[in-house]
Symmetry: C2
Subunit: 328 residues, 2 copies
Amino acid sequence: MAGIKDVAKIAHVGVGTVSRVINNSGYTSEETREKVEKAMQQLRYTPNELARNLYRKRTGIIAVLVPDVGHPFFAQVVKYVEIELNRYGYKTMICNTTQKDNNELEYLQMLERRMVDGVITGVHSLDIHEYLQIEKPIVALDRYIGNTIPVVSVDHKKGGQLAAEEMLRTGSRIIIQFQGASKVESPSLDRHIEFEKIMTEHGITVYSYEMEWNRLDTNYSAELVNKAYMDHPEADGVFGTDLLALEYMKKALIEGKKVPEDLKVICYDGTYITNVVYPEVTVIRQPIEELAKESVRLMNNMINGKLYEIRIISLQPELIRRRSTQCD
Amino acid sequence: MAGIKDVAKIAHVGVGTVSRVINNSGYTSEETREKVEKAMQQLRYTPNELARNLYRKRTGIIAVLVPDVGHPFFAQVVKYVEIELNRYGYKTMICNTTQKDNNELEYLQMLERRMVDGVITGVHSLDIHEYLQIEKPIVALDRYIGNTIPVVSVDHKKGGQLAAEEMLRTGSRIIIQFQGASKVESPSLDRHIEFEKIMTEHGITVYSYEMEWNRLDTNYSAELVNKAYMDHPEADGVFGTDLLALEYMKKALIEGKKVPEDLKVICYDGTYITNVVYPEVTVIRQPIEELAKESVRLMNNMINGKLYEIRIISLQPELIRRRSTQCD
């Protein structure tokens, strides 16, 4: 395979000149650039990307950590983050962290070793001090990680309020709520606190079921849903993330209940699966595409040495009313 | 930050020795290795991964190309491929190719430039000769790309046969079938040919609707489904990939049909969404986890210079009978 020396020889220039053309650095005349590019074409020379990156001290790669890329919410997150990173000229490396406990740490070490230029993380199971030791670009997606790492999140308190108001409108009296593990410092817990607060103020009963952290497997959710259904068969409303609330709706339909007549359903997240089922389900939609855009914008700023203006960016959720909360 | 020279100084060895320890190459005594590692810990020295990779001429990164990582089938593919690659010590880079036409070519160029060690591709929109010019590890996932690139696929003809036999068992007479774009050379087309052949032999009417290639957006599928439903409201069976068949089932339920009484439904792929809906849907399950395992095993062999034993690996699909084809 042809090397940089061969290119220099054929173009009648020095190796340093070829390097400047390849790396687009320093001054080279238009004429010289053309000679070098012609020689590269002639020799079918492609510059070694590794060597170039070593020179620039960047890899152009961002690691994206999610608990499970197969999960509909995180699959959408990864999709839109990849599209956005691509727009800025970055490549996307992904990792399912639930599969191996120490993966999160491994990627932080890759950041330290300059194998990736930044980490966008939708997980956080390590001690916060592991993160805080690293003075390189990290953006947290919907997680609080210490006081220095920027967070792109959704106004979940507002989300909880929207869900509560919609549920109150339907006149439901006994609500099952599925919520995330409370030991994890996630802004998303705010929705459950707000939902329960408002419902209780209006004299509505809320039974909350808490998920274990990072348990996204379907057997586990089916078990939790069955338990909730059996504990309170009289419930006439359910509120939870897409998969759990839909699992509960299915259980109710199997047991002969009718939706929305006997049971009102509100999903949180609002991924496409809430549209696939019948009846279609009312959702508090998280702006996943905007979450991705903001995270990538922040990441790009940090890589280029700009500070973030605000540490916590909070996007607005939206109520989309569908058949599962219809009442007439 | 401490450098390799500082490590050498503290460990009382030469820089070459430190390099051998870091790169795990050449001979170093156990004692020397321990001295070097201790010095590295003491200085909190982490070797520059880029420099190491340049030395080894490998990046340890595999690119995985899919049309849309947000799609339930490809999300599962990417999930299991990442888990498998991780087991072999590789990192996973991903790309949604439908977002930008030339991305596929860009990743092939990255392979040539040694920025990635291999490409596992679930898409194929480029001319085959672009692939065949590259003498580096490429594994095709369920796509035929010329006569030299290995393919990991599913026995889709068998899949079509399983679906046909199940549909015959239910006694359906008029079937709507949704199929992929036939201009793409994909083994998955075999299922539709086989399904239609068997049904026609038994005097059953099959109306086939063809998807445009790489159109995975939900508006498009809703349109196609509405058209199919309106064209043949008398249909009593539907067969297609998960999202399309489920969209059709929803349409039928909205129109007041009952499943399975008035309409039998069989989904191809069998991702988790066929379990979320009510009634749960009979599927021809694709062995996604095994597809991922085989692709990664092949990839690892190719990177390490081993030839593949068989060029086309064909895995077995499986019928999982659920309520949507119940008949009694």
